[in-house]
């Protein structure tokens, strides 16, 4: 069996490119895979199934949606909210009508009117101000013959959006931990945050909580790794909170080896997010692999992490206070950090094991490619046998047969 694999790939800087690069060697040990080069939307010949990795970035995934339109297939839905992607595919290509139609499809007349407001620049872009209300995943879901998701959150949202096809929930694979020495950085404790610095990563709340922590723990340091998003004035916030001194360490975008070294140096890793687009965090997966206690926002996939590995911070009122309490707890309690560390290593080793994930992928793709033929064959045989002994459609006996088939997932 051979699959056509559509995904951003390194050297593109994308979490999904990293994901595919990690997964593919293990997947190729189980299934024949043809990686489709960036930009090619023509269906690949001699492949049994096409698999499309879809995320919210139009530059990385626009061509993949184009390919999906030409040949439906299994979609790996890395983000559920695809508003930014759809805006890029429509407005970004001077196709205002496409955006109006997409918004109407999801939000009815109100959606269309709001889209007009966006096109006329009367209201802020909805992909920034209200992305969760208008996910715009409808077209992708309509074209998908099956979905692979990483979380119950996305599975539930896809079902709520009306997707009726098969959904396979497959954990994000864990990277093998490279043999790199931790960066030598002081901090008691050293707290790390990795990723773009902006409001949706809850950096204001993090800075506020850290400021409080540092009042009682002057040795605490916060390592902020990632680019500052446009419009987010980090320096001014730091000054206002009196954090411009040695308590804060800054690194811009870093390459993978340095990323691991920095993470390895941290005592606690912070991964806040709100709103969530339904994404899974590669950073959190890396941190679990390193056995780091993590603090996350209590939203989406992050909520599904077990309490043994993550402290979860509710979003909204009292967020900074709760975060401060979590940081204080972890700073003071070496035992709690050690327990979380062991649980994190075990979780990464078991649930996020690369071979296990690749096996789940192979199983789902094989079912996607041949499952219908198998189900059809079983149903035909059962139906013929039933008819031969006089069981009629709609009879209680036929219902019993159908129930037993469903129980064993034989026949859809």
């Amino acid at each position: 069996m051979k699959i056509a694999h559509y995904s951003p790939m390194p050297p593109e800087h994308s979490g999904i490119a990293d994901y595919s690069a990690l997964l593919l060697p293990a997947l190729r040990r189980r299934v024949d895979v043809e990686v489709i080069r960036h930009g090619r939307t023509r269906p690949a010949r001699d492949t049994d199934l096409a698999v499309y990795h879809v995320g919210n970035n139009p530059d990385a995934h626009g061509w993949i949606v184009g390919a999906l339109r030409r040949r439906p297939g299994v979609v790996v839905l890395h983000d559920f909210v695809l508003h930014h992607l759809v805006a890029g595919l429509t407005i970004g290509r001077r196709d205002g009508h496409g955006y109006l139609d997409a918004m109407e499809r999801e939000g009815g007349v109100v959606g269309r009117l709001l889209a007009h407001g966006v096109l006329d620049k009367r209201i802020p872009p909805l992909w920034e101000s209200r992305p969760q209300e208008f996910h715009l995943a409808g077209e992708v879901l309509a074209l998908a013959t099956g979905l692979i998701v990483h979380s119950r959150h996305v599975e539930e949202r896809a079902r709520t959006a009306g997707f009726e096809g098969p959904i396979w929930r497959i954990p994000h694979p864990a990277w093998p931990v490279p043999e790199l020495a931790p960066e030598r950085i002081r901090g008691e404790p050293l707290i790390g945050s990795f990723g773009n610095l902006n409001s949706s990563k809850r950096i204001p709340q993090l800075l506020e909580a850290f400021g409080r922590l540092r009042r009682d723990r002057p040795g605490a340091r916060l390592l902020l790794v990632g680019a500052v998003s446009p419009g987010f004035d980090l320096d001014r916030r730091l000054q206002r909170l009196g954090l411009s001194g040695e308590g804060i360490l800054r690194e811009d975008y870093v390459e993978e080896p340095r990323l691991w070294s920095l993470m390895a140096a941290c005592d606690i890793c912070i991964n806040l997010r709100a709103p969530t687009m339904g994404e899974t965090s590669g950073s959190v997966i890396r941190q679990l692999s390193l056995g780091k206690p993590v603090v996350v926002s209590d939203v989406g996939w992050f909520s599904e992490l077990s309490d043994e590995v993550a402290l979860k911070i509710p979003v909204g009122v009292g967020e900074a206070e709760t975060l401060h309490a979590a940081l204080e707890l972890l700073a003071r309690d070496d035992g709690a950090r050690a327990t979380m560390s062991r649980a994190a290593l075990e979780l990464a080793r078991s649930e996020h094991d690369l071979d296990l994930v690749a096996e789940l992928y192979a199983a789902s793709l094989e079912q996607a490619a041949g499952g219908e033929a198998v189900a059809g064959s079983v149903l035909r045989e059962v139906a013929e046998a039933a008819a031969e002994v006089g069981i009629e459609a709609g009879s209680p006996e036929a219902s019993d047969l159908a129930r037993r088939l469903r129980e064993l997932e034989l026949g859809r």
């Binding site: 069996m1 094989e366 499952g371 064959s377």
Partner: protein
């Protein structure tokens, strides 16, 4: 208790699994349980037949029989454990191995096309669903338990069962190595024949029948071993016990076997077992230089091991005695207590 023991039956085929289920029924009855053996013919080919046959088990209503409730069901091989029951105990002899470790080997069943790949996955799905329904899940060996955990995530308790009852005894450490097995390719009896071809002093008796017999006989002829390889066919209980009693050692080296009763039978006859490093389940009780000899799966290694036993009969006796102590610990009393608790 009223107990239904469920086992599939391949018509006209009788092997270790059938002996086991018959014995289980007998032992349950001996302990006062009203017990019935429930079987359904099993055919796993062509195409999706393996699934529709599993469905037959799902349709069976074993909640009650003739107006009286059935208190408990015990199921064994795939697909009998697809049966529904509120008190289902599964004692897995083996899963449908073609869907697992035999896949993409010479012994596999499923091709590389999408329908075959999906069919294999459907068998795995059946296992996941049906085994998860068990009130208690046992595996006949650690090897089987590990396969279940790998494929379904379910943890099975390891519970080997005693071998068939024979008039086990030891009369001598004679001049032949005995193979007791169904004659099919997976049992790897050809390896023993190849070993005999390398050692002119090695005599072999092959007990059992099966579809591979003609090929094996042809191989023995080709190697010029007609005088030293004896195909004794299916042996009755007395004949089998006599072969065990007189042999030097017992050969048992299928590829990644679930468990197999032959090593226990050999041990009860105080005979060491010759097996290979890739034999799977047998390695749980056959330990090199403690209860037998474990060699690489190569004819010359096997020939050397058989030759060593011939030259060291005292050691052969000691290995067999150690195996006997091990086998004596596995009793039906212990198994049934756990099964029903």
């Amino acid at each position: 208790m009223r107990i239904a023991v469920c086992a599939p039956q391949v018509p006209f085929v009788r092997g270790g699994a059938e002996i086991f289920t018959d014995k289980l029924v007998e032992e349950l009855r001996a302990r006062g349980h009203e017990t019935a053996l429930v079987t359904i013919p099993f055919k796993w080919y062509p195409g999706t037949k393996v699934l529709s046959q599993a469905l037959l088990w799902r349709l069976a209503d074993l909640e009650e029989s003739n107006g009286s409730p059935i208190d408990l069901v015990v199921t064994t091989k795939f697909p009998s454990y697809c049966v529904r029951h509120r008190n289902k105990r599964v004692w897995v002899l083996h899963q449908f191995r073609q869907a697992y470790e035999l896949d993409r080997t010479a012994l596999g069943q499923f091709g590389d096309g999408p329908p075959d790949r999906a069919l294999r996955r459907s068998v795995q799905t059946l296992d996941r669903i049906a085994l998860a329904e068990a009130v208690r899940l046992f595996a006949t060996s650690r090897n089987v338990a590990e396969r279940i955990e790998r494929s379904t995530g379910l943890v099975a308790e390891v519970m080997p069962h005693p071998p068939q009852e024979l008039p086990y005894r030891c009369e001598e450490y004679g001049d032949f190595v005995l193979s007791v097995n169904r004659l099919d390719r997976a049992k790897r009896i050809d390896l023993l024949i190849e070993a005999a071809a390398l050692d002119p002093a090695l005599r072999v008796v092959i007990a059992g029948e099966g579809p591979d017999r003609r090929r094996l006989e042809g191989l023995a002829r080709e190697r010029g071993l007609n005088g030293r390889i004896e195909f004794s066919g299916l042996a009755d209980e007395e004949k089998l016990a006599s072969l065990y009693a007189r042999c030097l050692a017992v050969y048992y080296a299928p590829v990644d076997e679930d468990f197999g009763m032959v090593p226990f039978e050999a041990f009860l006859s105080r005979k060491p077992v010759l097996t290979t490093t890739d034999a799977g389940g047998p390695l749980e009780i056959v330990t090199d230089r403690r209860t037998g000899l474990v060699t690489a799966p190569e004819a010359d290694a096997l020939a050397a091991a058989a030759g060593w036993l011939r030259e060291h009969r005292g050691d052969a006796e000691a290995l067999g005695a150690a195996g006997h102590d091990l086998a004596a610990q596995v009793t039906w009393d212990g198994c049934i207590d756990r099964l029903l608790s």
